[in-house]
């Protein structure tokens, strides 16, 4: 009898504690309905950012959270792709004298009375410190450093003025300070940026300050009382919940436990129908341009260099045949159900967008003909075998590895579709996916693309409004990864002197039209030599609850961009 009662009590206790526990992890939702602001907004992210320093990582997830706190810089890029002053009083241009006539001097003036989140004043010395960090080759910065090595000195005649001297004209001078400033008093040494404690607890000029970080669970941000726009942000708290499973994310939005959903798995039509009355998915043309990269040099031979040529892909006709074999329309419309837009070259959006047609449209007959010409005869099992091919020994099967990254289902679906397309023309592609950290790892980590151990690689890359940094690293013949140049980005081992010339032009001219023409020349070369085949651009999808207002989605932004303007009515 006693034991029975005890059992009942224990079970009851467990039951109650489970319920209580569940409630405790729910975010505190604002109870006030007043339009004076306030409230807590919960945002869902699929993975945890390793740190909140945008420059110290090349994982897209870092920006999603960091933008709320540590990425407010001198300027920002609005949804039209134009620069807008933030901490700076105005944009330095040739008209107002901020940009000197020889393009070698840029003068930035800060707004008066600016403060960091810890209350210390933001001064021009912080601009100088930011330059010291991002120009230091040992800082560990992975993005955003382009052009900083062209700044020879920074003078700070007074607390709100910084005068930057460039060794040669750099057209992207506005973009350099669009992603945040570092506070000299709260960070560390420039050469040590990768190890700063600031990376995990930033002192920034953004609308929110990190107030709690439960690894694996959530990041919580509180309102920054020292934010430079008076009265903003309107919200009290932001909570980023880390939820890896797509179904769980959608369930949270359905139940109103979250208000912002990053990259929902469902397409817009399904999402809106599911969430009717509660939330909608907003699509904005994204920057993530997906392409298949070809390794033009021999893989898996212990040598990362461009020679010897790839036995299969070294022959241009084979690459053209592969390009002809892909049914681009079915891929965009059926497989991905219109959630992406077609892309034909590296410059698919922004002021540098090049309108080029698919160089080698879907044409199975042409693909077969090219492969026959290139010396690949159809084998008994439906896969071609070399017979008089340019670089491959007779008898070698036309079989290659297609690498991609895991945990993103649309990429996996794309790969599977392409495998079938290629099988139809006798090319065998074996999917080999790796975790994000391996595909996008460093040369030292033996990342396959860095050391040249791949055949075909599919992934998406995004440019900001200033593409020069990425493009130079990807297409310059001097940027091939090697032991002496481990950060090189020319993974295809492609060398084209016309491209090198165009890169020089684009990197030094200030006239946007001249730069755009140079980029389009590069695009034409890419579509002629085919180191890559472009497929589509992802649209950025964000799920927003209907009672969250004031948000702006931007191709150039992130999920928390503009969070200072958000208002939430429970």
């Amino acid at each position: 009898m006693k034991i029975k009662i005890l059992t009942v009590l224990v079970v009851l206790g467990l039951f109650l504690s489970a319920c209580g526990g569940a409630k405790a992890t729910e975010p505190a939702v604002a109870t006030e309905a007043a339009s004076d602001g306030g409230g807590t907004v919960t945002l869902i992210i699929p993975e945890e950012p390793a740190l909140l320093n945008y420059f110290a990582s090349d994982a897209a997830i870092v920006r999603q959270a960091a933008e709320a706190t540590s990425m407010t810089g001198l300027v920002t890029i609005d949804e039209k792709g134009e620069f807008v002053p933030m901490l700076a009083a105005e944009l330095p241009t040739a008209e107002n004298g901020g940009l000197s006539s020889d393009y070698l001097t840029v003068t930035w003036k800060l707004k008066p009375g600016l403060m960091w989140s810890d209350g210390k004043p933001i001064t021009s010395d912080d601009i100088k410190f930011t330059w010291e960090v991002l120009s230091n080759p040992k800082s560990g910065a992975l993005v955003g450093t382009t052009g900083f090595d062209q700044i020879t000195s920074v003078e700070t005649p007074d607390d709100t003025t910084a005068v930057l001297s460039y060794s040669s004209p750099y057209p992207g001078y506005l973009d350099q300070f669009a992603y945040g400033l570092f506070p000299r008093h709260a960070a560390g040494k420039p050469e040590d940026m990768a190890n700063w404690e600031w990376n995990r607890k930033p002192v920034g000029a953004g609308p929110f300050i990190l107030s709690g970080w439960e690894s694996g669970q959530s990041l919580t941000f509180a309102r920054n009382p020292n934010y430079f726009e008076k009265g903003k942000p309107y919200l009290d708290t932001l909570v980023f919940r880390i939820v890896p499973e797509p179904a769980a994310q959608t369930a949270m939005m359905l139940q109103g436990e979250a208000q912002v959903h990053l990259w929902p798995g469902e397409v817009k039509a399904q999402y809106d129908e599911l969430m009717k009355g509660k939330a909608t998915q907003v699509l904005v043309p994204g920057i993530w341009n997906t392409a298949i990269d070809f390794n033009l040099s021999a893989p898996f031979d212990g040598d990362p260099g461009p020679t010897p040529p790839h036995p299969i892909l070294g022959d241009l006709r084979v690459r053209q045949a592969i390009a002809h074999a892909i049914d681009y329309d079915a891929l965009v419309n059926d497989v991905l159900e219109g959630s992406v837009s077609p892309s034909t070259n590296p410059f698919a959006y922004g002021w540098y967008q090049c309108d080029l047609p698919h160089p080698f449209p879907y044409d199975v007959a042409k693909a077969n003909q090219l492969l026959d010409e290139a010396g690949w005869v159809m084998g008994a099992d439906g896969i071609r075998v070399a017979k008089g091919a340019m670089y491959a020994p007779d008898g070698m099967r036309l079989s290659m590895e297609l690498q991609g990254y895991t945990s993103f289902e649309p990429i996996q679906r794309t790969e599977e579709f392409i495998v079938e397309n290629l099988k139809a023309v006798g090319v065998e592609a074996k999917i080999q996916n790796y975790d994000f950290s391996i595909i996008f790892g460093t040369y030292e980590d033996n990342s396959p693309r860095a050391i040249g151990d791949y055949d075909m690689l599919i992934f998406d890359r995004g440019f900001t409004t200033e593409p020069q940094g990425y493009v130079a690293q990807a297409y310059s013949s001097t940027a091939m990864p090697s032991p002496t140049n481990p950060t090189g980005g020319n993974y295809f081992r492609w060398s084209n002197p016309a491209v090198d010339d165009a890169l020089k032009t684009a990197g030094s001219e200030f006239d946007l039209q001249v730069r755009k023409d140079a980029y389009c020349k590069i695009a034409e070369q890419v579509n002629t030599d085919l180191p890559q085949v472009y497929l589509y651009v992802f649209q950025d999808g964000y799920g927003f609850a209907d009672n969250l207002t004031g948000y702006t989605v931007s191709t150039w932004g992130s999920m928390s961009w503009g969070a200072q303007n958000w208002e939430y009515k429970k």
């Binding site: 590895e401 895991t406 996996q412 599977e416 579709f417 999917i431």
Partner: protein
């Protein structure tokens, strides 16, 4: 004078006795039939009119109907066919990795438990080392090693997956067997055998090991269930079966993204894993009943 007609007990073949006792457990018999059925279905998967990778992107996410018994997936492939082919990998990996794991575990555990002393210490410390390695790190290091080999497709072979899963799980049967041996080696039949001049090998394999089969088999059935699930997790790190080759676990994980729109994508592979695991557990129950001499068999 009445004859004592009590029959002299027939000498029964041990194996036959065990099998007879096993089938008294009705669910176990049913479970064996289920597993055999699953294996047959997978083996004869080629009889399906569809191929496992045959796509029809315009016909995606179809509900189950006469043409597609289990519906179609995100690329318009027939799910029933993919489940059949998927069973091949899942069942193969499950069975063979468990066999390998048990084989390793029994060898280590029996040597360790029988001989004791310094051999026991060394083997158990090795076992402890394997137990303390965080699985993820072991897999990452292994992955990095395999990627450096000049054979690019080595990491995809099912054999590698089987070896990896066995390597991660052999420690459980090892400890189990060691414990059993520590107890059993003190028994009289061991001393008797030794007195008669039996070699160590003979004692281990012929006398002690048969008494351990019950617990070993039960442990094995539990391990098989976890092996099937682990196989799908490995592809995350680039090991094992890559898309588009179907396995139950990979179909299940792809289905996650679409669960609100097409729940049948998740239900069917999940169900297959479920009945496989349940069947194996019931077989384990039956085996335990069959081998355990102390269980009263009431002829149910």
């Amino acid at each position: 004078m009445t004859e004592i007609t009590s029959a002299i007990p027939q000498e029964q073949n041990m194996a036959r006795l065990i099998i007879k006792r096993f089938f008294k457990h009705r669910l176990a018999g049913f479970a064996i039939a289920t597993i055999v059925l699953l294996i047959l279905f997978s083996a004869f998967a080629f009889l399906s009119p569809y191929e496992a990778t045959q796509q029809e992107p315009t016909n995606s996410f179809q509900k189950p109907d006469a043409q597609h018994w289990f519906g179609t997936d995100e690329l318009g492939r027939d799910i029933f066919t993919r489940i059949l082919y998927g069973g091949r990998v899942s069942l193969t990996v499950g069975l063979f990795s468990t066999f390998l794991s048990i084989a390793l575990g029994v060898v280590v555990g029996s040597l360790s438990g029988y001989f004791g002393g310094w051999l026991d210490s060394i083997l158990m410390r090795i076992t402890d080392a394997f137990l303390t390695f965080p699985t993820i790190f072991v897999l990452i290091i292994l992955g990095a090693f395999l990627r450096e080999q000049p054979i690019p497709w080595l990491k995809n072979s099912v054999l590698v997956v089987i070896i990896i899963i066995a390597t991660l799980s052999w420690t459980w049967p090892a400890r189990l067997v060691r414990g059993l041996f520590l107890v059993l080696r003190e028994r009289e039949f061991v001393s008797a055998s030794r007195a008669m001049g039996g070699s160590d090998l003979r004692i281990i394999t012929l006398h002690i090991l048969p008494n351990c089969i019950g617990p070993i088999l039960v442990s094995g059935t539990l391990q098989m269930a976890s092996a099937i699930i682990t196989e799908s997790g490995l592809s995350y790190l680039g090991f094992g079966v890559q898309p588009p080759t179907p396995t139950w676990g990979s179909i299940l994980s792809t289905a996650q993204t679409h669960v609100f729109r097409a729940p049948w994508l998740a239900v069917y592979p999940g169900f297959m894993i479920f009945i496989t695991v349940m069947a194996i557990n019931y077989i384990g129950d039956g085996l335990r009943d069959a081998f355990d001499p102390y269980v009263i068999h009431t002829g149910k």
